[in-house]
């Protein structure tokens, strides 16, 4: 070998070449981002390309562009969230938008106001973008039907978490230079995971093969009809994947009978050093966070060379900037 391989640089170049190839000018027609299921492959590629342009903003001396100056973004979170909310806040600030928080505990919903009334009131204050997280699947759709401003889904029940799906796909493309043909495993509590569903829709549209891995209680049959492959024996397939995305086990569910004990789950489905030795040498390890170290993956794996966990967080900013910019641009162009 005459040349030291540099996978990151190679991937960047491949992406850049793909981006500069002559194609029809893409148009983003959506004022809202509610699901990845409803997007076309070109829509998804446009977000990824736009996010790539936004990536630079975070690395320069003035970490801000004036694209959304004078616009107002509201974080409407009906579920606790630290990183997603912070990421949206920072993304809005880097676009020079003003951002306010409207959290469930301080709002009138505790006084019985309906979601429809709440968002109509928010809109009446002259808001441009509503970022919403809600425990009920479909809540962002209900909001979008009732307001004229942009609505961005930051997670609705077990349904979708489109910006997380996009940032995961962005991170994979950044590391591998492509999506088509890759084998991606999504491991763990798939049935309760909106991250798994958004990843599935996005990755399939771009030509990847997605396998859900976990016990039958967490990876039920129904996902086959959505295009996923299913596997209940991690060890038998671990050497096949280019990407392994570990989902968080929610401790509150452990008391129920979906699996016998944390130890057993961890022994069968945890990403340990030992399992990593049997994975592909260039496997990319991901986790949407927060990580239960020692359960979904060992601390060594989370902090290891192949982990993209912190890169995912960084990329989340660029992806959310891209989504807010594209939706607002579509809204202002009628």
């Amino acid at each position: 070998m005459s040349r030291q391989p540099n996978p990151i640089q190679d991937a960047r170049r491949m992406v850049a070449e793909a981006q500069s190839a002559p194609t029809d000018p893409a148009v983003w027609p959506h004022r809202n981002l509610l699901t990845l299921e409803s997007l076309t492959p070109d829509d998804i590629r446009l977000v990824l390309d736009t996010a790539q342009a936004f990536e630079d903003v975070s690395t320069r001396s003035v970490k801000k562009v004036p694209a959304l100056r004078g616009r107002v973004v509201v974080n409407l979170f009906y579920e606790d969230s630290t990183r997603t909310k912070t990421s949206f806040t920072l993304a809005a600030q880097r676009l020079s938008a003003d951002i306010i928080d409207f959290s469930e505990k301080t709002s009138s919903s505790s006084k019985g106001e309906s979601l429809r009334d709440t968002v109509r009131n928010i809109e009446a204050m002259g808001v441009d973008i509503i970022v919403v997280r809600h425990p009920a699947a479909g809540a962002p759709h209900l909001i979008a039907r009732n307001v004229k401003c942009c609505v961005i889904n930051a997670g609705d029940g077990r349904h979708e978490h489109p910006t997380q799906g996009l940032l995961d796909i962005f991170t994979i493309r950044q590391a591998k230079g492509k999506i088509a043909g890759l084998k991606v495993a999504i491991v763990g509590d798939v049935v309760n995971s909106r991250v798994a569903r958004s990843n599935l829709h996005g990755l399939l549209k771009l030509g990847a093969e997605v396998t859900f891995v976990g016990p039958t209680t967490l990876v039920p049959r129904g996902f086959e009809s959505m295009g996923a492959k299913l596997c209940h024996d991690f060890d038998s397939v671990i050497d096949q994947f280019d990407v392994i995305n570990m989902l968080r086990i929610q401790r509150e569910r452990i008391s129920s009978n979906v699996f016998p004990s944390v130890q057993e789950y961890s022994r069968l489905f945890g990403l340990t050093n030992e399992r990593m030795r049997r994975a592909k040498p260039d496997v990319l390890v991901m986790h949407p966070g927060p990580i239960n170290r020692g359960i979904e993956m060992s601390g060594d794996v989370a902090d290891g060379q192949k982990s993209a966990v912190l890169k995912q967080v960084t990329n989340g900013l660029a992806v959310r900037m891209a989504v807010m910019f594209l939706c607002k641009q579509a809204a202002e162009n009628g």
């Binding site: 790539q52 891209a322 202002e332 162009n333």
Partner: protein, 173 residues
């Protein structure tokens, strides 16, 4: 449709622009050409060997995307694609030549100046354009102008071989 510049015209015009720019560069000052995407970046790239021929060496190159600095989201249209700004040198201290294909309202240049200022503090910024078609809405003028045309109600179209076409500048009535 009339041809304002053919490929020879563009070549000679860029040559003359390079001469004028070279004569204006202060001594012992690092020089950079930065083109506004699309087309300005390609013209900036072509200026580098022409400046070399004038004895100006080590010219840094960058391309600038100004989509995020436009003053009206609706004005840029739904098809505006945000491209990467690629300026991998520190603009601070440089004598920076900003390059664009057509100068019209001046709003792109305003956006480009803001974008450059966010990257650092150049020693000076000068503006070079292939075509000045008048119609200014802001107090912005070019320092180096290829050709001038007063075509307020006409469309000036620049095509360059880098984009797969041929080198020419047309004016559509």
């Amino acid at each position: 449709m009339t041809v304002l510049l053919d490929d020879t015209g563009i070549r000679l015009t860029l040559q003359r622009l390079a001469q004028e720019i070279a004569a204006a560069i202060p001594p012992a000052c690092p020089v950079a050409v930065v083109g506004i995407r699309r087309r300005g970046d390609e013209l900036a790239r072509r200026l580098i060997p022409l400046l070399e021929a004038q004895g100006v060496h080590d010219v840094a190159y960058g391309s600038l995307d100004i989509t995020l600095y436009r003053d009206d989201l609706a004005e840029i249209g739904p098809a505006a694609i945000v491209r990467t700004t690629e300026i991998d040198f520190d603009v601070a201290g440089h004598f920076l030549i900003l390059v664009d294909d057509v100068l019209n309202t001046g709003r792109s240049i305003r956006a480009a100046l803001d974008a450059i200022m966010d990257l650092g503090r150049p020693k000076a910024i000068r503006l070079a354009v292939l075509v000045d078609r008048g119609g200014r809405e802001l107090p912005i003028q070019a320092d180096f102008v290829g050709v001038r045309t007063e075509s307020d109600h006409e469309h000036v179209r620049v095509s360059l071989r880098e984009a797969g076409g041929e080198d020419r500048v047309d004016v559509d009535a």
